[in-house]
Structure formats: structure tokens, C-alpha cells
């Protein structure tokens, strides 16, 4: 099947945008409504029978989820990535979409995964239940608005090392200057000139010391 023929089949779907990225990759953008039609079409007409993966991307700025269905054809030796966007929903009204389990059995796994990690409910998927995150009670963790690092800092304690060499250095007036967490909390990894962090830390230390002094008095 050549490029023209596949385009012909794909063009039967309304509002489709086709990008031939390279020989074995075709990117297709469709509306959420017509995606099942598209999948049915390429599976039935063009031998795309292997569902390689379903990916969900959280475009939080657009308030949308992007669902990407990667479908491979053993005969054409070509991968179609079908992109569609759905509404991101809210906590009360989580995002919903149609399951493609009838077409592709492996969708069971991927849809359950997306359900767990993003909270998208797939209507018609056989097992919309927790699988990997059975011990997790928080929000779906893959959402961009879940700040895992903040959660970790809040939940866990770190080992408080105090080896001999550090004590020695502290006695000499040195010691820990910049902790790795400090540069990370500064936001991005850039804009984190070490000396500034150090100055900040020092200033904070001095402040704290002053406070202590104040209390003592």
C-alpha cells in the first residue's frame, strides 16, 4: 500500500490531518469523536492490527489531555500515531473517553494505566480499577499539577549524616554550604549560581542565630 492509498483511507475520516514524518511513521491528528472510526478503519482496511501503545500527555496549559494511539501494521511496516485531544476535566468531573478495547485487546492494560496515572475514565474498558497504584490514595500522580518532589519532601525524612570529617570542617568554620535540595527548590536548574545560594543560606543562618540570641536574652 503506498502513500496515496493510505492517505485515501485516512481521508475518509472527517477533519483529519496527516503528517508523513518518515517512511515508517505517520502522524495523524483527529477529533476525539472520530478517533474510534479512524482506528476501526485502519484496522479493518489497512491491516494496522498491532496496538503498540496508548500514551496520555497532560497539556495542562491547554487544559487538555492528548491521547496518542500508536498502531503498527505488520504488513505495511508502518506506524500510525493517532493524536487526539480531550478535555482535561476537573476533580469533580474527571475526564472521560471511549475505550477501544473492542478493537484492540491490549487497550485493557493501557487504558487502565492511564486511568490510574491520569484519572481518565474509559467507558467500556473492562477493568477500570487500580492495578499498580493499589496503595496510593492521592491524586493521579502523573498529572502535571501533582508536584511529586514537594510531596516527597513533605512525606519523607532524609538521612541526617554527621561524619567525622564534616564535624572537623564545621569546627574549622566551614561545613555544608549548598545542599543539593537547595538548588532544586530554586526552581529550574539554571539561575542557581552557587554563591548566591550560599549567601542566602548564610544570611538565613545568621538570621536564625540572631533570633536565637534574641530569645536567649
Amino acid at each position: 500500500m503506498n502513500k496515496v492509498q493510505i492517505d485515501e483511507i485516512l481521508n475518509k475520516v472527517n477533519g483529519i490531518k496527516i503528517t508523513h514524518k518518515r517512511k515508517t511513521r505517520i502522524r495523524v491528528d483527529v477529533d476525539a469523536d472520530s478517533l474510534p472510526t479512524l482506528l476501526e478503519l485502519i484496522k479493518g482496511r489497512a491491516s494496522y492490527i498491532h496496538l503498540s501503545a496508548i500514551t496520555c500527555v497532560d497539556w495542562i496549559a491547554d487544559n487538555q489531555f492528548e491521547l496518542v494511539y500508536h498502531v503498527w501494521s505488520y504488513e505495511e511496516k508502518c506506524l500510525i500515531s493517532a493524536h487526539t485531544r480531550i478535555d482535561r476535566g476537573s476533580e469533580k468531573n474527571p475526564a472521560k473517553y471511549i475505550s477501544v478495547y473492542d478493537l484492540f485487546k491490549p487497550a485493557d492494560f493501557f487504558e487502565r494505566d492511564i486511568f490510574e496515572m491520569y484519572g481518565v475514565t474509559f467507558i467500556g474498558s473492562p477493568r477500570m480499577e487500580k492495578f499498580i497504584l493499589t496503595e496510593w490514595n492521592g491524586v493521579p500522580p502523573m498529572l502535571k499539577d501533582f508536584d511529586a518532589e514537594a510531596y516527597v519532601q513533605e512525606t519523607f525524612k532524609w538521612t541526617d549524616y554527621n561524619p567525622d570529617w564534616l564535624q572537623e570542617l564545621t569546627d574549622q568554620g566551614g561545613g555544608i554550604a549548598v545542599k543539593p535540595e537547595d538548588i532544586r527548590t530554586a526552581g529550574n536548574t539554571h539561575n542557581m549560581s552557587t554563591h548566591r545560594e550560599r549567601d542566602k543560606a548564610k544570611a538565613a543562618a545568621v538570621k536564625a542565630n540572631d533570633k536565637m540570641q534574641g530569645w536567649k536574652q
Partner: protein, 231 residues
Amino acid sequence: MKKELKIKQKERTNPLAHVFDDFIRFCQSKSLFMLHYCTGCGAIELPPAMTSRFDMERLGIQPMVTPRQADILLITGYVSIKTLKRVILTYEQMQSPKYVIGICSCTVNGGMYWQSYATAKKLNEYMPVDVYIAGCMPRPEAVMAGLQRLKDNIRNDKKEHKGSAWKDYFKRYDYYLGNQQALFGEDWQTPTDIIAEAKLYGLETEETYGKHTKLLEKHQTPLLPQEMRIK
């Protein structure tokens, strides 16, 4: 700082008791059954350590499949919270004296997954650890070195008190339970009655009890064996 804890110790009257104890300790150091629970990536370096190339059996260490028979619990790397529950269950089911070896960075300070929401960061908050082996993951030789260290510790336990970290679990149960509850929720319980066991060994101290054990009593349902299944 750990407080010095008073321990009610049973009196031994048999004059040969010490000789006997020493012999048993010697044998304990020479024969270790290892429950290797693949909690994480480090487990991949255990097969080499067990098999022909490095042959752990030379040290008298062999794998065992059930916790009841095992002496060593190897925590091979990161423990996700789901695994940690099972690890604690397993640990409590093991028979004293029992030893825990923390392998890889992850058991010390979170390791590679320090920013992961799904893994526990410090193993020694949840159970006493005897020996740590550094590496990500440590090579089989390092694992062997760690095991040798454990063996030495066990043999010299009487002098140096290094090979009996497991007693700490009973002595400071409240601390460990508190950390477990903080992570798993208040209604966390295991089917093993640690307090009864502590009483049995005469290892109960003031720190065995506390507000966390009270909480446990409140939430504890009677121990039924197959309830061991965790939701």
C-alpha cells in the same frame, strides 16, 4: 541519641550456658539462610553471587524461599511502598535471630529514586538494619564482602553487640511502628504480635510501648491467619 534501655533479662543458671551460646553463635555465623526478596534492581547481582562464579555457598549461605526458614533478609535496593508492606510482613515472620542487609544506595537515603512518590527512602526507619552494602548496584564481590561482615558481626556479637540489631525492633517497636503508620495509615497492622514476642524474649522496654502501639491496639482486629493478605 538513643537512650540506654533497661532490659529484663532471664537469668541463665547453667554453667555451660556460655560455651553453648558461643557454639550456637559460631554456627549461626557459619550457616545463614538468605531470603532474597527482589525488592529492587540490586536483586540482579544476587544470582551471580549465588551461582557458580562467586558461589555464596562457600560462606555457608544459601537461599531459602520462605521467611520462616530464613535468617537474612536482603533488601536489594529501593522498596516501593507496596513492597515495603510485604517486606515488613516478611520481616516479622522471620525467626529471631534475624538479620537485615540493605543493599544499594536506595536503602540509605532514597538513592536514585529520592524524588519518587512511590518508594520509601530510609530502610532503617521501618526495621533495624544490620549491614549496608554500598553501590548502585553493588557487585557480587561487594555483596560477598557485606555478608562476610555480617558473619563477623554475628560471631563477635557478644563483644561488640553488632549482630543483634533485630533486638532493637522489639525494644523500640513504638518507633518503628510509628514510622510504618505514618506511611501506611493509622490502621496498619500485621498478623504478627510483636509485643507478645518481645515479652517472650524479655526484650520489652519502655520504648516498646507508646502512642503508636496504643493506636495499633485500637485498630487491631483479632489476628486471623489468612488476613495476612493485604488489601
